[in-house]
């Protein structure tokens, strides 16, 4: 059962790489921003259905929430569009390594200062080594 869960998590990551490669192809024919639009439009429909049937939270909290906590969608647009633009130039491998480095460094900084409502956790040696190893991987893969 535990092994199966690891497999699920592996498949989740694999899904992201497949998504990047496929959207890169769609981006070539209909345009990159248009591809992002499609992803978010279709995602809204899928999640809208999931919410109707399985939603247990409180959607109306969006109206009371601090406004900055509603910016996730716009940030997601930057991420997806950058993937769709970059994959045809450098390939899926380099793109994913670069995304992960950006994520690692930024989440280290965010958590170090406790920004955006995150729990404050100091940068430690291991996290710095993790970023350095990933940068070496990026140089080698390029």
């Amino acid at each position: 059962m535990r092994l199966l869960s690891y497999l699920l998590a592996l498949m989740a990551g694999a899904a992201l790489s497949f998504e990047g490669a496929i959207y890169a192809e769609l981006g070539k024919s209909i345009g990159q921003i248009e591809t992002s639009f499609y992803n978010f439009f279709m995602g809204s429909i899928i999640l809208g259905l999931l919410w109707l049937f399985f939603g247990k939270g409180k959607l109306s909290y969006a109206l009371e929430a601090p406004k900055w906590s509603l910016l996730g969608g716009v940030l997601g647009v930057v991420y997806l569009t950058s993937i769709v633009i970059s994959v045809p130039f450098v390939g899926v491998g380099i793109t994913m390594v670069a995304v992960i480095i950006g994520q690692l460094v930024m989440s280290m900084v965010i958590e170090h200062f406790g920004w955006l409502g995150s729990k404050k956790t100091k940068i430690n040696k291991d996290k710095i080594f993790a970023v350095l190893s990933m940068i070496i991987a990026l140089v080698l893969i390029n």
């Binding site: 999640l47 969608g73 450098v90 670069a98 690692l104 409502g117 991987a137």
Partner: protein, 154 residues
């Protein structure tokens, strides 16, 4: 051009990490499905305005695009669902690390075979070493996170 693209993609990773912190905060009160729904919805609204003013492509081309290209929309949802299924059983840290491993390995495999009409970049010795350094990095992420969670538990 390649280097510029890499920098550009780094920014993509930076925004993604800011997004997960922000969404994490929102989902504590609004719920996971609700937060994800809102993310997609606000993204769609933003892109609708953006495309109307700055779009050079052809949105209607979606109707003619091969269906396998459109199926990618379900992969993003699959990622979310699989993650939500794995986290309660093996924890956030292990789920993220296994997820990154899957992402990187499949990324290199897609490049090697040039699947989906993508660039063909062969898996040579240099790339094998790159994969080894990624594994090393994942090990450090694991150790770093374990240390943090032990400190916060103490």
């Amino acid at each position: 051009m390649g280097l510029f693209m890499i920098l550009f993609t780094l920014i993509g990773g930076i925004t993604l990490s800011a997004q997960s912190s922000i969404n994490g905060t929102l989902s504590r009160k609004a719920g996971t499905i609700e937060t994800t729904f809102l993310t997609f919805l606000t993204g769609t609204l933003f892109l609708t305005i953006f495309i109307l003013f700055f779009g050079n492509g052809n949105v209607l081309g979606l109707l003619d695009a091969p269906k396998w290209q459109l199926s990618a929309a379900f992969l993003g949802t699959m990622y979310l669902l699989l993650t939500v299924m794995a986290v309660p059983r093996i924890g956030v840290i292990a789920t993220n690390i296994a997820g990154i491993a899957g992402q990187l390995v499949i990324g290199v495999v897609i490049d090697h075979f040039g699947w989906f009409n993508s660039l063909v970049i062969e898996l040579d010795m240099k790339r094998v070493f790159a994969l080894l350094f990624m594994v090393l990095s994942l090990y450090f992420i694991y150790r770093g996170n374990k240390r943090t969670s032990e400190e916060s538990a103490a």
